[in-house]
Amino acid sequence: MSSFSFLDSGLGLTVVVFLPLISAIFIFLIPKKQEMLIKLITLGSAIVTFLVSLVVALQFDFNDAAELQLGTKVSWISSINSNYEIGIDGISLPLLLLSTFISVLAIIYSFEHLPEPKNAKGMMSLILILETGMNGTFVALDLILFFVFFELVLLPMYFMIGIWGDKTVRSVSGLKNDIETRLYASIKFFVFTLFGSAFMLLGFLGLYFRGNKTFSIPELIELGTNGAFTGTFATLVFAVLFLGFAVKVPMWPLHTWLPDAHTAAPTVGSVLLAAILLKLGSYGFVRIALPILPEQAVAWAPAIAILSAIGIIYGSLACLAQTDLKRLIAFSSVGHMGFVMLGISSLTSIGINAAMIGMVAHGIITGLLFFVSGSMAHTYHTRDMGRLGGNMKLLPKTGAILAFTAMASLGLPGLAGFWGEFMALLGAYNPLPGLNVTIFRSSMVAGAIGTVLTAGYLLWMLQRVNLGEPKEEWIDQELHDADNYELVAWIPLVILTVLIGVFPKLIFGATNDAVIALVAKAFGG
């Protein structure tokens, strides 16, 4: 490990964050016609980024996972005392790896599967810019730096949905004219997220002025855990931070952009959105909102628990009403992120650990679900579950993976999805002492009902899509089963799902110490 010591002082993380961006700029300069070259450079830079992040993970001292490591602090905007301060601990490491890994898979998948209008140059550079935003958010330790990366993901995702998205024309209540799904969904996504984050920025500024004029997250945590932020001020700041993060998660009732965005987005967009972008919100809660404003976190926890419980039930019920395959998976995200937030709201180490593994598992499983459903939509030219059926016979490979992923998604023990749900319920059963036990136990019951409903809609989905005899309209058609690019993108996720399911320590090994330290410091539990 010592051979990589040159990556110590933040260099490794800096490469992980900025290599994709630099490659994107480089790609801008290559003529559009050199498509293969563009794809190879993109893939190469994403793989190098992933490898560097692996090296960083190897260097990471897991015995000291509660400490921020491998970072640096360089002056950035001196006039407002904002620094280029980065680093990782056990909480951010798994998410960073997830981000670099999923990006590689997304690029491999895009090699052969670009929806109209093809334009590989555009898509590849957008994926790379997006990756910089995602990686940056997970390593940033300065509120302003965090904000910039947090927002950096908006533009690429907006264009991904808007350019390559679903062109079906639909009517939207409140709009006079019918509008293409992609156009409506992309601006809705953008406006919702910006609405949350504009207020979040005001909150950051509030912390800055009350907290010795620093934007440094570790310093603010130090101040916050020593009770520097109290009273109405703290309530207001937590409210705006909540708004910023909850829109991104998304928590009920701020979730309405998600089904539209997911349904409209091209496959790669959906995958990255579900796998990484949603985590930026829940990560924000764990990294910023809870430790800096612990008193407020305790005050808000019951409300968050109730909203999460509603999200779980609402998401599952909405799924049962869907006829559109991708929309169903989108609503299932609302439910699954509800479990993550339920875990966080318990403010215990079990609950937050559950949230951490829940985030990673949801990233892998739902990412895979969107890959598979996107491919199916491409093959069948429809996402209407009423028309699909007998998928197992028509596309055996795709069907098998869909069945496996659905099982993982419904929380089958032994697969990755199980731990997040199970432990979140456990956390809610026994929340931080002092929290209203009745509310949390009711939320737990709601969550438990949610798991049953989840199993219900996923199995029902499988029954409608995968099983039975193929409909007549498909019988004589030549349908292509998963090709090699797809399998290369999918199989690693299948393997990871099993690995994390069997050895959850892969995640807990990193997160546990950090989470325990966080809870001890902020809530004395």
Partner: protein
């Protein structure tokens, strides 16, 4: 010694170019940039001339640099525009240079007369320029409107100034302020009245509500480069005058003025943004957007009027002005480029244009989303420093204005994203000329890349503005 030569160059060089055409003007404005840089590099302390009525400090040097650069970019924007329609080239450049001279004078003016002359010298040529498209009815209408309101605004400013002079008998700002304080008149109704008159007069120049109604018509009628200049340089001149007056004369006039400004600023944002939402004409859209942006630029000064934290306020307003200048010029460049392909007043005719003009498409994304304040483009830092100065004291007016600003940032996104949406996402228009990117004339390329680099660099390394903080503290304390 350098300083003296620099001033003479500063003031005289543009005049000498009176009868020489485009090329010389462009070179001239570039050459004028040189002494500014030298002077800035050798800067030690503020240079006070003419018994305190003309001051050269870091603050004024930075702004002079801004004005010269903006004029330079406007020239480049104009080259093809003016040639293509056989306008009167010599006069065109002369008038723009005169306006520049006025702006340069305003940045250093520290007495009533100098400032008035500067303001009028900056705006009078614009009356002519805005009506440059003589055959065009809209151009004439806009120009007449602009002229009438401009004269009205000049008389309001003059009336306000004369009140100040009548009360104190002094011309230089610092004397006026001292006399007002000594004779306990600083919070009297007369002072407030003169402040309101001046605010109304300058309000026309910076197009804040309720003095904004001329802007959309004039912007629409004027030649595009002139519109760009109007919305950037003219507006900045007005703001600089306002900033100097508020922080040098009215800094101790009580909270009344500040509260008025807070309301104006909030209403300006809403009116500008909500009107911009409904526009289909790209120039009118930018006109309303520039009204809304004026609300943002005004906000820190307004709150500074209440909290008396002028240093922060000046820093925020000027930073915003500088970043806004480049992204807005870029936005006008985009309109110009797209109109070269499809001449239309309706931006919905530009569907799918970016596929044929990817460079213009990328410019559109960068400049319009920068205006919307999306990181990592420059606009985010402009908005950020404004929010920062609004919240700095945690005082209720600042807080409310911050919330209003946040809401408006979201509204603005809807229309700023529209052009990018149309040219990148909509189905292609049949009249699109193909492969138009290679035909972009090189002056326009220069404008595009200069603005692009400034916009992106100021977003990623906002540290470059730290000098400005120092400059505004020198400005305020000298």
């Amino acid at each position: 010694m350098t300083i003296v030569t620099a001033i003479s160059l500063d003031l005289l060089l543009p005049r000498k170019l009176k009868y020489i055409v485009a090329l010389v003007s462009i070179l001239g404005s570039l050459i004028a940039f040189v002494p500014i840089i030298f002077q800035y590099a050798n800067y030690s302390s503020p240079e006070i001339l003419f018994e305190g009525s003309y001051v050269i400090d870091k603050f004024s040097l930075i702004l002079k640099g801004l004005f010269i650069l903006v004029t330079y970019l406007t020239f480049l924007l104009s080259v093809n525009f003016v040639e293509s329609d056989e306008y009167y080239q010599g006069e065109y450049y002369f008038l723009l240079l005169s306006s520049l001279l006025g702006a340069l004078v305003v940045t250093s003016s520290r007495d009533l007369l100098t400032m008035f002359i500067g303001i009028e010298l900056a705006s009078t040529p614009m009356f002519l320029l805005s009506g440059w498209k003589k055959g065009d009815q809209k151009s004439n209408e806009g120009s007449i409107k602009f002229f009438l309101l401009g004269v009205l605004s000049a008389s309001l400013i003059l009336y306000g100034f004369s009140l100040l002079y009548g009360v104190t008998g002094k011309l230089v700002f610092s004397d006026i302020a001292n006399t007002l304080i000594q004779s306990d008149l600083n919070q009297s109704p007369v002072t407030l009245l003169s402040a309101i008159l001046i605010l109304a007069g300058i309000g026309f120049k910076i197009s804040i509500v309720p003095f904004h109604s001329w802007a959309p018509d004039t912007y629409e009628g004027a030649p595009l480069p002139v519109t760009a200049y109007l919305s950037v340089s003219s507006k900045a001149t007005g703001f600089v005058a306002l900033i100097i007056l508020i922080s040098k004369v009215f800094y101790d006039s009580g909270q009344g003025l500040g509260i008025i400004l807070v309301f104006i600023s909030g209403i300006t944002m809403f009116v500008g943004n909500l009107s911009a939402l409904q526009q289909t004409n790209p120039v009118r859209l930018l006109a309303y957007s520039s009204i809304a942006q004026a609300g943002f630029i005004l906000a820190p000064m307004a709150v500074a009027g209440i909290t008396s934290n002028y240093e922060d306020g000046v820093y925020a307003s000027v930073t915003y002005l500088i970043i806004y200048a480049f992204m807005n010029i870029g936005a006008f460049l985009v309109i110009n480029l797209l109109q070269r392909n499809i001449q239309s007043d309706d931006m919905y005719d530009w569907g799918g244009l970016a596929r044929e003009m990817p460079l213009a498409g990328i410019f559109a994304v960068i400049f319009f989303f920068s205006l919307a304040g999306i990181p990592p483009l420059g606009g985010w830092f402009a908005k950020f420093v404004v929010f920062r100065s609004l919240l700095s004291t945690g005082e209720i007016f600042g807080l409310s204005l911050g919330i209003i600003g946040a809401i408006n940032a979201v509204i603005a996104l809807v229309y700023y994203s529209r052009i990018s949406k149309i040219i990148w996402m909509d189905s292609p228009n049949e009249n699109v000329k193909s492969n138009n990117d290679t035909l972009i004339p090189s002056p326009l390329r220069v404008v595009g890349f200069v603005s692009l680099i400034l916009t992106i660099v100021s977003g990623i390394f906002p540290g470059i503005f730290s000098n400005l903080g120092e400059a505004s503290s020198i400005f305020f304390n000298s």
